[in-house]
């Protein structure tokens, strides 16, 4: 078994046999079941929902959570390698898993009541139900603390009012985790089931990025939910932010998968495509591009592996995740564009994955904390000065 990707630094030796087997399973699944479908889904702007139970059966959702959460309790590096493979397929596929595992299962497991865990975790992990995470609002993206969605206490529950935007899986979701402020301006999480009166989730159209992923608005008009819908064990913005740390971790890994797909496609193409006297891979300018790609992928991978080992030891903090998300998405975005250059005109065709990754990575650059916000998070960490506000 070897790490599936450009292994210039014997990275295989840093991974356990199990981690390699898990990568292999994810790789085989994506290449055999997903890749043949992606071109059409990307064209149509749809997500292959029929794969969700299969991914559940394989154990991909929230896989690094403890066994008590219905998960396989794999290492965080193994989990990262799954994300790497899903995003080699498409950022939309990885987004689905990041949301289901990191943004829905994780908070229910961490902050939910026993009843909520029993009701939702087995079904979410097996892919029988789909979840979504509603934090962002039309007027509050980078600044979620400003959210205006409200939760009003009643004698036996809550009434929710407001609107969320840019919510991955919103229209597909059977359960939405909605973050809203109570009368004391304290942020709380609510599990709102599909079909609850006053709740709707229309799909957003016209995306030129992450087309094979469903993105929705969530509209809440006097939505009545019982007390049992609120996540009892968390208050304040640290609730949603702790979830974002999980999902950002999966992005730090996923972005490498997209980069690897672009690099490998470009390398193969450059060796086969002849112009003037030889393959374009034989020209120095092309070689410089390919070497830059390999170099950045190798560094990103080492960063992700160490981040995962820290996470396994319980020593990872959000600043480190911010740095990894920032770096790995940036390099993936640059690599995708450079790969497109190497493919020339062919690069813009959807016969090759490169332009699709290029478009996808624009979303990945922005969601889960924009590149700039991660700069400011790390900037604050090293200077002690808050530049965000």
């Amino acid at each position: 078994m070897r790490y599936i990707g450009p292994d210039f630094y014997n990275i295989t030796d840093l991974l356990t046999e199990e981690e390699l087997l898990i990568q292999q399973t994810a790789y085989d699944f994506v290449q055999e079941k997903f890749t043949p479908l992606i071109r059409e889904h990307h064209r149509q702007g749809t997500f292959p929902v029929e794969l969700v139970p299969q991914m559940g059966q394989l154990g991909f959702f929230g896989a690094s959570l403890p066994e008590a959460a219905g998960a396989a309790a794999i290492s965080n590096v193994a989990y990262g390698l799954i994300m790497h493979e899903l995003e080699r397929g498409d950022s939309g596929l990885r987004s689905f898993a990041s949301v289901q595992g990191g943004l829905v299962m994780y908070p229910i497991w961490k902050y939910g009541s026993d009843e909520q865990k029993q009701q939702w975790l087995p079904k979410l992990s097996s892919g029988k139900v789909i979840g979504c995470f509603g934090l962002t609002e039309p007027d509050f993206g980078s600044n979620p603390a400003g959210m205006i969605t409200r939760a009003q206490r009643t004698s036996d529950g809550w009434v929710l009012n407001g609107a969320k935007m840019w919510i991955t899986n919103g229209t597909l979701a059977d359960v939405a985790l909605i973050w809203a402020k109570d009368e004391d301006d304290v942020v709380r999480g609510f599990l709102v089931e599909k079909g609850t009166a006053g709740f709707s989730a229309p799909e957003m159209r016209g995306k030129l990025s992450l087309r094979a992923s469903v993105t929705s608005e969530l509209i809440l008009q006097d939505v009545v939910v019982p007390n049992s819908a609120v996540l009892p064990n968390v208050e304040g913005l640290k609730g949603p932010l702790s979830c974002l740390t999980q999902a950002r971790y999966s992005i730090a890994w996923g972005a490498i998968g997209a980069a690897v797909d672009c690099y490998e496609t470009a390398l193969r193409y450059a060796k086969a495509r002849k112009q003037f006297s030889k393959p374009i891979a034989g020209y120095q300018l092309t070689q410089a591009k390919l070497v830059d790609m390999l170099e950045e992928i190798t560094k990103a991978l080492l960063l992700a592996i160490q981040l995962g080992r820290l996470k396994d030891l319980g020593k990872m903090d959000f600043n480190q995740v911010a740095l990894a998300k920032r770096n790995n998405v940036r390099i993936a975005r640059d690599i995708a564009r450079t790969a497109r250059e190497i493919l020339g005109a062919s690069g813009i065709l959807d016969e090759y994955p490169v332009q699709r990754h290029t478009m996808n990575l624009e979303s990945v650059y922005t969601y889960e904390g924009t590149h700039e916000m991660h700069t400011l998070i790390v900037g604050q960490k090293i200077t002690g000065l808050n530049a965000i506000d």
């Binding site: 078994m1 070897r2 046999e17 199990e18 087997l21 898990i22 292999q24 399973t25 085989d28 699944f29 059966q57 394989l58 154990g59 991909f60 896989a63 396989a72 309790a73 794999i74 193994a78």
Partner: protein, 250 residues
Amino acid sequence: MNIIVLVKQVPDTEAKIRISDDGKHIDESSIKLVVNPYDEYAIEAALQLKETHGGEITLVSLGPAGAVTALRTGLAMGADKAVLIKADDSRFMDSQTVANHLSKVIKEREFDLILGGKKAVDTDAQQVGSLIAMDLNLPIITAIVELDLNGNQVSAVREVEGGAETVTCQLPAVLTCEKGLNEPRYPNLRGIMMAKKKTIEEKEISDGGIAVEIVSMEYPPQKAEGQIVGEGPDAVPELVRLLREEAKVI
């Protein structure tokens, strides 16, 4: 029901093969090794039989120490235990020697059925299954695409030129599997985690006499470059003309 599945670790069919410097075997140092695809059908068949009839699945492999990874994959798919007959020089052994070693280990165990691939994709010799059946004096059905078990009665379908034949025999028996028999499952994460706790017994062997020896290996001749005559329906007449007049195949 106790099932033995023969498993061989082979180079990935997509791997770029390099012949070693002595010209007699494949250099495996930098290529990906996988479970022989035909053996995956055998593992899957065993798992399905176990699901309906119960029992235990033991994987048996002969190979270098690294072949343990192939066994681990089979255990992750759901097999119960595994035996590795360790031989660093296994790549130089002929089919007869391999079959003898496997038979010796199998003979010591209780089993009702032996399943294997119809061939290993690296050597392509298609002999080991049959030789084991001979060693153990068991009936064998090769290259099956359908399998049904009723009590002790095996009923299997084989593809033959232009049709299919149904063959039956009694257990214990040896069956070798052909593509199409089933769709091997992916090892799921729970299976992979559980495989860690399953035992892989290791046996050391000293090689027996080798009767058949590989003298040399050569790469296939380079394919001539293809020719693109055009695109879409417009290209058809020209394609037909070339096939008829130049390639002379139609």
